[in-house]
């Protein structure tokens, strides 16, 4: 899966937390970011019916992130996501 460099959620290069997600060993700055990423992927799959996600692009910060996801050659799936203090999804809104 193609993601930004550094932590897959926030881009930070602090920390040294690794988690296997969808068969890939991925870097995160902390456990909460890893939880956020996993919860986000689960929600994308639930809403799109995709089995695999190939690319995630993220803009924004902890106040709210605009995410663009891709699977294969199909169109991007764009949404706004925000998480609570434990990494659970607080807001998930599709961008048309």
């Amino acid at each position: 899966m193609k993601v930004q460099s550094g932590c897959a959620i926030c881009g930070s290069t602090w920390g040294d937390y690794w988690r296997e997600i969808d068969g890939e060993r991925m870097f995160f700055c902390c456990e909460i970011c890893a939880d956020e990423f996993e919860n986000m992927l689960r929600e994308i799959k639930k809403r799109t019916g995709w089995r695999e996600i190939d690319e995630i692009k993220i803009e924004g910060d902890y106040r709210g992130r605009v995410v663009s996801a891709k699977s294969g050659d199909g169109p991007s799936y764009k949404f706004v996501v925000r998480f609570d203090s434990k990494g659970a999804i607080q807001k998930f809104e599709e961008v048309k």
């Binding site: 930070s12 920390g15 040294d16 925000r82 203090s85 807001k91």
Partner: protein, 303 residues
């Protein structure tokens, strides 16, 4: 003392090297609160070494020519009113009924904790001006001054009633988990920390409705003041918002003057800075909980 804003560990005054070593150690273990603090306040780029981080920390905390009160104002603006204002503040500019109800349902719990936090300050201080300030603040926020001047808490409940909720429904609604978490953390903070730090931690938050923040770079007010004139919101909502709009300038200003006076007299400016930053982190989470409540209400009505 220099103090870690995440866990409260203290170091000698202006010992940025030790503070940097401390953050570096915790970050290398991916400790959530230390990593997040570095990401949000200092940098998301891991520094070459501890020395480089120490320099960044020193630059961040050094007051240079600023007063402590001004430093607090500027950090507050950066966090809530900078180029990316807090989402709750954005939602409050032209609030929906659900946004206001989210405010009511969570903030009633905040105000109850507010009294406890201010009471800790009074219990710990031996300064008369501080006690008098807190008494006045508690009455304005919670006790009221008779039927002519109801408290902020009473005005909040009236706003909720004007938007269709019964008082009993409001009072029996439990806080959302993030609100509960923040209130617990503020309670612990007030119980544990020095009263000057608690003053900065709590009254610094009153800057949220301080309409003079735009003079120091805030990109917007807490809400669009034009809603106080039109008929987009209920009269009870106007009364509630107006009260904060008028009271909080004085509240935060006076409190920050006391914080400046006593933190310098007692040699604890850096402690105050660290504890204030911890408190605004909690406040960020708490404001999101208000928004979460609003979004839950919106979902329930559109279902």
């Amino acid at each position: 003392m220099t103090k870690c804003s995440s866990c409260g560990e203290t170091f000698s005054r202006e010992d940025w090297d030790s503070l940097a070593r401390h953050y570096y150690d915790f970050a290398s273990k991916s400790d959530v609160s230390h990593v997040m603090w570095l990401n949000r306040y200092i940098t998301k780029e891991k520094t070459r070494d501890e020395k480089e981080l120490a320099d960044l920390l020193e630059r961040y905390f050094k007051l240079d020519n600023l007063s402590l009160g001004k430093w607090i104002r500027l950090k507050f603006i950066e966090r809530f009113y900078g180029s990316r204002p807090h989402p709750f503040v954005v939602a409050l500019q032209q609030p929906t009924k659900e946004t206001l109800l989210g405010y009511v349902l969570e903030h009633q719990h905040f105000l109850r904790q507010w009294v406890r936090s201010c009471s800790y300050i009074m219990a710990k201080t031996d300064r008369v001006d501080v006690t008098l300030y807190e008494l006045d603040n508690i009455n304005t926020e919670f006790g009221g001054f008779g039927p002519e001047r109801p408290s902020h808490y009473e005005l909040l409940l009236r706003m909720g009633e004007s938007l269709g909720l019964k008082r009993g429904e409001i009072l029996s609604t439990e806080p959302l988990p993030d609100t509960r978490y923040c209130l617990g953390a503020w309670d612990e903070l007030a119980a544990r920390e020095h009263w000057v730090e608690t003053m900065a931690a709590m009254h610094g938050l009153e800057l949220i409705a301080d309409r003079t923040l735009t003079e120091d770079g805030a990109v917007m007010h807490y809400f669009d003041p034009s809603i106080l004139r039109g008929d987009k919101v209920t009269e009870a909502t106007k009364n509630f918002l107006r009260e904060g709009y008028e009271a909080d300038v004085g509240h935060s200003k006076e409190a920050l003057e006391l914080v400046e006076k006593y933190s310098s007299e007692l040699g604890m400016i850096e402690n105050v800075q660290a504890t204030f930053l911890k408190s605004i982190d909690l406040f960020h989470t708490y404001l999101l909980a208000r928004l979460q409540r609003a979004e839950m209400l919106t979902k329930a009505t559109t279902r």
